[in-house]
């Protein structure tokens, strides 16, 4: 084989093997760069719930009233929930680069922004991930001067049902008695 052809084939193989950011990771975002903010934050919520954990919770959420059934229906199609929420004692504890690193991940193909509100000192954005015309995930970015929250849900999720979930949550088994740090 011609050495130049060999090099070309090698480069082609390499290009195929290198994962493309948007398509390879799907609806799951890389949020590890936000971990450093935990040191500056007054309150931190870091939740990682994978498919196995969701399966485990099915037994606990099942058969405890209509609210539990609704929640169970909601999480049925979900394969992962990843939340990072930081509340800071002083404003601007995080940088624009921290938020941009998330926005860059949802700028690829497959993602579409359905809500985008940008104020003077705040940003609220909701993105949907679609794969073959089916809803495959969701990202919510809520940034305020002294607060940053990123919610990443992987799987089939109904936004309206998720938004209407609020009043049901305190009745669920495992719900916190006191308010979460927000």
């Amino acid at each position: 084989m011609n050495p130049r052809t060999t090099v070309n084939y090698s480069l082609l193989l390499l290009a195929l093997l290198i994962p493309r950011p948007a398509s390879a990771q799907g609806a799951r975002l890389q949020l590890d760069h936000l971990n450093k903010l935990a040191d500056k934050a007054k309150e931190t919520v870091d939740v990682t719930v994978d498919a196995a954990m969701l399966k485990q919770t099915a037994g606990f959420l099942a058969g405890k009233g209509s609210d539990s059934e609704k929640v169970q229906q909601l999480i049925e199609g979900i394969t992962g929930i990843y939340v990072k929420s930081f509340q800071f004692g002083v404003p601007n504890a995080y940088t624009d680069a921290d938020v941009e690193a998330i926005r860059k991940q949802v700028s690829g193909s497959g993602w579409s922004r359905i809500v985008g509100i940008r104020g003077k000192q705040e940003l609220t954005e909701i993105y949907f991930w679609k794969e073959r015309d089916t809803n495959g995930g969701l990202v919510v970015i809520a940034a305020q001067p002294n607060e940053l929250t990123v919610v990443n849900i992987v799987g089939r999720v109904d936004l309206a049902s998720l938004g209407a979930l609020g009043p049901m949550i305190p009745k669920l088994p495992g719900a916190m008695k006191k308010a979460i740090p927000r």
Partner: protein
């Protein structure tokens, strides 16, 4: 001389034979022997078999040890299973709390976004005219 020796030996053999006959002569048991034997049988006396007992005790020792090990192992396995079940329960409870917390934050964030969108659309001029 030779004949004298032979006759002496013969005489000795004769006396030995007589002594043996006397010693092995049939003797009757002492009086009341039958009654004593029968009464002991009636009383249920048995003759011990020390060797047999020892043999059985030697056989039972490993059996008992094996049973103890088997019971101990079963108990240990049960304890391990119970501990695993408790750990799984605790994991599931923690996972449920995490799921509910994640849903709570997601729901609140989405509700806040929806409220902002409603607020913006309420004050925006419409092109319906």
């Amino acid at each position: 001389m030779r004949f004298a020796a032979i006759s002496q030996t013969e005489g000795m053999c004769m006396s030995l034979e007589q002594e043996l006959r006397r010693a092995l002569k049939r003797k009757d048991p002492p009086g009341g022997f039958d009654d004593k034997v029968l009464s002991r049988i009636a009383a249920g006396e048995t003759v011990g078999a020390p060797m047999g007992t020892r043999r059985w005790s030697r056989a039972w020792l490993p059996v008992a040890a094996s049973l103890m090990i088997a019971f101990g192992a079963t108990y240990y396995v049960q304890l391990q299973q119970q501990r695993q079940a408790r750990e799984q329960q605790a994991h599931a409870e923690q996972a449920t709390r995490d799921v509910v917390l994640a849903l709570q934050i997601a729901s609140e964030t989405i509700s806040a976004a929806q409220a902002k969108v409603e607020e913006i659309t309420r004050y925006e001029p419409t092109n319906d005219r």
